[in-house]
């Protein structure tokens, strides 16, 4: 087992242990904190596919995070009020079933990413960053100005959506759902990375001309990766809305895009468990330093600066050393 694999296990099992220790210590608040880490890590795992493997620096992933959140909020609201989502030509009702909500969140995010990706991936470098940001901002302002679902005030989910056979109102059970989804997406990411598609995607980042000269069009590979990446981040958004029982345009704001990117960079770009390490450090700092000073992000900034300047591999890079290439 490589050192990175050991660290991955430690991170994965460590996160799993937190809520149970919290329960024993009688500090249930930490369960929520661990759930936040799992969900934000998932958003990062999504971005890491595009950014880490494919080299697509998307500064617009908040769009997918927010769309996932609104999918949960809108479906739940319609289910709660027993108003159909669509009355004609066919009746579509809301849903308070997480599985349905996840599927809808994934499908809509994939569709939106297909459109955004098809346009933005014709550019590269700083233009790609700016255009993905622009799309996310468009969706952000749309959400603010759309009164049907709360506009600027957002939308409350009165009862957390359900999962067959589980009580989602129990913090531990909800944590386990989020944790399981995170692990499933990490597993999918690992398989993707090692697959034919993953090989092509990584070469699209390392040397797109080489990929084309091998007969594989970089654009198509990137577009599919962008769509999968968006779907995962959207799934995280749906869970996040359920965690807070609230969704608002702030989930779509560019700060969120930045934070998701920070998880990935802090943890180690392209490292499988990097987003988990990054999100965990972020939440821990927000909680402890945030308790001391309002300006805790100053320290975050300093750490981020050090990571970018001195350790390219992020936290995983410090702990596991240079990446071992297959």
């Amino acid at each position: 087992m490589s050192r990175e694999t050991v660290i991955n296990w430690v991170l994965g099992l460590g996160l799993l242990a937190v809520p149970f220790i919290a329960l024993m210590q009688g500090e249930p608040f930490y369960i929520t904190l661990a759930t936040r880490v799992a969900i934000l890590a998932l958003a990062g795992v999504g971005l890491n596919l595009a950014l880490g493997l494919g080299g697509m620096v998307s500064f617009g992933h908040a769009a997918f995070f927010g769309i996932g959140g609104y999918a949960a909020g809108i479906l739940a609201t319609h289910a709660f009020n027993q108003e159909p989502l669509l009355a004609w030509p066919l009746t579509v009702s809301g849903s308070s079933d997480m599985l349905v909500i996840w599927l809808v969140a994934i499908a809509i995010c994939a569709l939106v990413a297909l459109v955004i990706g098809a346009i933005t991936l014709r550019t590269s470098g700083v233009y790609f960053i700016m255009i993905t940001l622009a799309f996310a901002q468009m969706i952000y302002y749309f959400a603010i100005s759309w009164p049907a679902y709360g506009g600027e005030d957002g939308l409350s989910i009165y009862v957390r959506n359900g999962f067959p056979g589980l009580n989602t109102l129990d913090p531990i059970q909800f944590f386990l759902i989020c944790y399981a989804v995170l692990m499933a997406c990490l597993f999918i990411s690992a398989r993707l990375r090692d697959s034919r598609f993953g090989a092509a995607l990584q070469v699209a980042r390392q040397n797109p001309d080489r990929l084309a000269a091998t007969g594989i069009a970089p654009f198509n590979i990137r577009l599919v990766a962008f769509v999968i990446s968006a779907a995962m981040t959207g799934l995280a958004g749906a869970l996040f809305a359920d965690l807070n029982r609230f969704v608002s345009p702030s989930m779509l704001s560019w700060h969120v895009s930045g934070e998701i990117m920070i998880f990935v960079i802090l943890g180690g770009v392209g490292r499988l468990f990097g987003p988990l390490a990054g999100a965990a450090l972020f939440i821990v700092m927000e909680f402890y330093l945030g308790g001391i000073t309002e300006h805790w992000q100053l320290f975050l900034g300093i750490i981020l600066l050090c990571v970018v300047l001195f350790v390219r591999g992020g936290i995983l890079g410090i702990m596991a050393g240079r990446r071992v290439h297959a």
Partner: protein, 251 residues
Amino acid sequence: MPDAAPVLELKGLRKSFGALKATDDVSLDVRPGEIHALIGPNGAGKSTLIHQVAGSLTPDGGEVRFNGADISGLTVAQRVRRGLGRTFQVSSVAPEFSALRNVMLSVQSTQGSSFRFFRPVMRDRSLVDAAMDKLALVDLAERANVVAAELSHGERRQLEMAMALALRPKLLLLDEPMAGMGPEGSKNLTGFLDELRNEVPILLVEHDMEAVFSLADRISVLVYGSVIASGSVDDIRANKDVREAYLGGED
């Protein structure tokens, strides 16, 4: 041999950058079993021409025909899938991948779609074995697991050749393969290409005159974007225009 239908045919290719005619009505062909060398002084427009054949530049006019079909409108990747393999003037590999994984990418491309998401490539014998074969062919088998960025210049050239051959190309476009190879490397590569022509015809762009004269079945000389002479090695050696324009006049 010269009667066979050409594999690659350039017909009246034209490309200008502003007032500069980089490619000025170039027509040439490559036939099965031959090495057709393209030579010319610096700035003659060889690279521009190569780009148009490979598909990374669109000509202003004229046609690129490959195996009888017009491929002028195809992208780089589409042309490669049709069988147009190439190596670059400056080696172009995936630097973070091992030599083996680089070649595996080519093999993967020949096996069809890259939209396969779940099976680990390293456990896929059909990819690994075929890639190892090609590495052995270019004498790079012992370096299979070395990351491409850590290979020497010459080894990266060999790797590129393995990647091109793994595509099972119907034509090879070699852009200065001898550059920076040293005398020993050039000699080996010359021997290698000499054999290779029987499997796949080659359009060879090269500065090393010794290699060109010993390898080429035909030579075309490009000066200021147009072909000033085309013929056998002896024709070109004897051609007055070529001597003046390119070989530096009388010896």
